[in-house]
Symmetry: C2
């Protein structure tokens, strides 16, 4: 698949004089993190918020100084002062409300997981395309300045002549009693994909990023703990086979492995490996600090036999970006996406669909006791590329 | 299985006045690391070395000041000045030479992987037991002072009320052209288990350690790259199910996930997680330094919503042991094992067999395209417990 031109266009900057007016559909905790993070951001104005409860809408609007409040999502969609909507609803409601929003000519910023499956997501994207509105999901780290630095580093072969060939990631947090009783992310009728949709979405995305947005060939997943079919703890792996061989004649097979869980202490490590070096950072989803985001490269790794025993050594270089507010960076990117020409909008919906295709296959593998499962983009990816002329 | 009394006896100290006289069967690179590491060690005397090539035996003996040299392994086994043998031969030769050594009343220190499968290993252990000789494999980290500290830490519930529930590990190195052409570890007829036997042996072992030597219930493995059936790059996972639930009513399922490969840059990270905290170190197989071995605990992990965006924070404590020479510690432990009473010898062969049972199931899963595979100790573990009266 030739996705390169889409990537190049993804970061085009919209006309700075234009302001995008946004409506927020829902008052979930994650919406508060977004709104908190983008206060005072130029070029984006949050014009309205809607909730099924007008009281909740009012409280949310008061907290963030939002002028307009609605007690029904439909009413917000009819507001012609609004250019775009941000949808933090449970994934069970995504298909319905993305389609309705697109039909009301609103651009869509959608919480992950985008959909319960790729068929649903493609229906959303088709409707967006028919109505000439843009689509993006809310993976913050895609917009963090660190990722652009790392992208350049991976391209320069410092990890080895064949670039990165393995991505290990872990993203876990420990839910409390209230989380397991009430949160949408563990309820079969709301976010039935559990930690696969909520956490592995990031692990899949970082691997797709490291491997230039190629789709894996096969995946495998195990639901370590599940309840009513919703995974609470899982591990997964994905393989990118190829016909290429490395300098020693060994087949090059890129792969990723990840652990994602609602029942383990917070962790969000990434380790990207090539033949000759590794690249690591320990806060890939939510940075430890908004003022300092380090990442590390190890090369020239060697073993030494000393009289006291074996040791190993390496050169480690620390890199970092200074102050970075990834919430603001995401919303700036969304604004640019909205303001850009219509024919430059394939990248963001494209990576959502690639991620969702992996989710589908991982879920299928887990249902099949972890057996290797072929990721078959089949008609879905073909439809997407036609839709976006890529 | 009640393995606790065996664990308690594992570290009993032999009479300090006795010296164990050792014969080395083979001159492989790993043997040189051992001999280099134990020079001047009290209580162990390397009396002889054997190689199929007397020239190699002479060169090795000259380098390490070993008085006796043999051009045949059989001749070394007939030397009645020798109490114990160290066997660094390819795993294809382990069954033959461990059985012959035991029948010559030599205690056995065996390179990993112990065997091609658990049936072979049990045959070795039966012969050792019949001839009243001890058995131990060569996993250095088991003897490193750090592991005893960590064992105490894991027992005190600092990672959470249910103790450690996940172990993530990675152990990789990048072989060069000569490795892939000549090394026994990638040759189907010599070490056919490849990176499963050579590297995952450590990943399995550290998980068994963290989970109190319980055997997992199911495993899954994928051979990412293999050649002539020998895995060069693999990932694996193992699950310990239980009927217990945690404080939120969620089933407690302990698990491990690991990546082991001959084609990626050196890495040997361990991350042990509970509900409330994590324990990490980045050099679990070969320490970065013999003078300083750190490990880290993170607790009180929290997210903070700042005006600049989300951040997360934790308390991290650094622990470490000072100078530690794990090669010497392994050989001291082997000496103690040899000198101890005959009825206190179950722990070391027991953990070898537990590791090998996991290897068997992982290999079976990989052959079955990664499907969840039940680890069935069946008659093998039962035979072992009868053999050692545990």
């Amino acid at each position: 698949m030739d996705f390169n031109s889409a990537v190049e266009n993804a970061y085009a900057v919209g006309d700075p004089r234009n302001v995008v007016s946004v409506g927020v559909m829902g008052t979930a905790r994650i919406a508060r993190s977004h709104l908190w993070g983008i206060q005072g951001l130029e070029g984006v104005k949050v014009h309205a918020v809607a909730s099924r409860s007008i009281e909740k809408a009012n409280a949310f609007a008061d907290e963030f100084g939002i002028p307009t409040r609605y007690g029904k999502y439909e009413d917000l969609l009819k507001d012609d002062k609004i250019d775009a909507v941000y949808i933090p609803l449970p994934s069970s409601l995504h298909l319905e409300w993305v389609v309705k929003a697109a039909k009301c000519n609103k651009h869509v910023l959608l919480e992950k997981p985008c959909a319960w499956n790729s068929d649903e997501l493609l229906t959303m994207l088709e409707t967006c395309r028919e109505n000439k509105v843009k689509f993006m999901d809310t993976v913050f780290f895609m917009h963090h300045s660190r990722l652009k630095q790392i992208s350049q580093q991976l391209a320069n072969a410092s990890l080895g002549p064949d670039g990165p060939t393995h991505v290990l990631s872990t993203f876990c947090f420990r839910g409390d009693e209230s989380f397991f009783q009430n949160n949408i992310r563990v309820a079969a009728g709301l976010d039935k994909l559990g930690c696969l949709g909520d956490l592995a979405w990031y692990s899949i995305r970082i691997a797709l990023f490291a491997f230039n947005w190629d789709l894996p060939e096969t995946v495998s997943a195990t639901y370590v703990i599940e309840k009513d079919g919703v995974p609470f703890d899982m591990n997964g792996s994905m393989l990118w086979k190829s016909k290429a061989v490395d300098g020693c004649g060994i087949p090059i097979v890129r792969s990723t492995m990840f652990h994602c869980s609602f029942v383990h202490a917070w962790q969000e490590d990434v380790l990207i490996s090539g033949q000759d070096g590794t690249l690591a950072f320990e806060d890939f989803v939510i940075p430890r600090s908004t003022s300092h985001a380090p990442w590390f490269i190890r090369t020239n790794i060697d073993q030494t036999r000393k009289p006291s025993g074996m040791e190993w050594s390496f050169n480690q270089s620390e890199h970092n970006v200074g102050e970075t507010k990834q919430e603001r960076q995401l919303w700036q990117a969304f604004r640019n996406h909205v303001l850009n020409e219509d024919n430059k909008g394939a990248f963001w919906p494209g990576i959502s669909l690639l991620t969702q295709l992996c989710v589908d296959a991982l879920h299928q593998s887990a249902a099949n006791h972890g057996a290797q499962t072929v990721v078959d983009p089949g008609h879905l990816w073909e439809k997407f590329t036609k839709l976006y002329n890529i």
